[in-house]
């Protein structure tokens, strides 16, 4: 007795989250990886909203997608943009 339309939303969001996380891990361009992580955070925030947790969704959107991305971007600016094997 599961509602299939809700399950469908869960599956779509879940697959998208896994994909964006995997892309973030795979990309050699760190800045692009960070953008992928920001997308991951936004999807996660959307999932929180779907699961009736608007408080957490707001925190995740502001912190995960906003500030953390800015901190990453600054850190990458100071260091190296490409992931290189040395």
């Amino acid at each position: 007795m599961i509602s299939w339309d809700f399950a469908l939303i869960q599956i779509i969001l879940g697959v998208l989250m896994i994909l964006s996380a995997a892309i973030a891990v795979k990309l050699r361009d760190l800045l692009a990886a960070v953008i992928a992580m920001a997308g991951f955070s936004l999807l996660l925030s959307l999932e929180f909203y779907v699961l009736q947790a608007p408080d957490v969704a707001m925190a995740e959107a502001a912190i995960g997608a906003g500030l953390v991305t800015a901190i990453y971007a600054l850190a990458i600016k100071y260091t190296r943009r490409m992931e290189v094997e040395e």
Partner: protein
């Protein structure tokens, strides 16, 4: 045999498991410091998602009384995991910020973000 209905129903839990596995793989196997930080962030997000999924109640509403629909009375998702997740998100941010600061400093000293180059502390 695998009960496919349960697999579909528990799909959010499976997502958590897969994200955890991706994160652990990243932390243990990647050599770039920033990638390691990303791995830690993925594990943290997975656990946050886990807590929220635990609190979800089929067909229930957000635990806020202000201007809620009539059906929400006595039919709310569990609020505790949401409070715990708020704490966990802020802790995750704190860890990420400190790890990135350390990564910048390591780059300043060693000129590289590769863990094999940045390893003077051998056994």
């Amino acid at each position: 045999m695998i009960n496919w209905e349960i697999v579909v129903q528990n799909f959010p839990f499976l997502v958590v498991g897969i994200l955890m596995a991706i994160g652990v793989y990243t932390v243990t196997m990647k050599r770039n410091l920033i990638k390691i930080v990303i791995g830690v962030e993925i594990i943290e997000s997975a656990v946050n998602l886990f807590l929220i999924t635990l609190g979800y109640v089929e067909g229930a509403y957000a635990p806020i009384y202000t201007m809620a629909p009539k059906a929400a009375e006595n039919n709310m998702v569990l609020p505790t995991p949401q409070a715990l997740t708020l704490t966990a998100i802020v802790i995750g941010l704190a860890v990420t910020a400190l790890m990135l600061a350390l990564a910048i400093n390591i780059y300043r000293h060693y000129g590289s973000l590769d863990v094999r180059v940045a390893r003077r502390l051998r056994e």
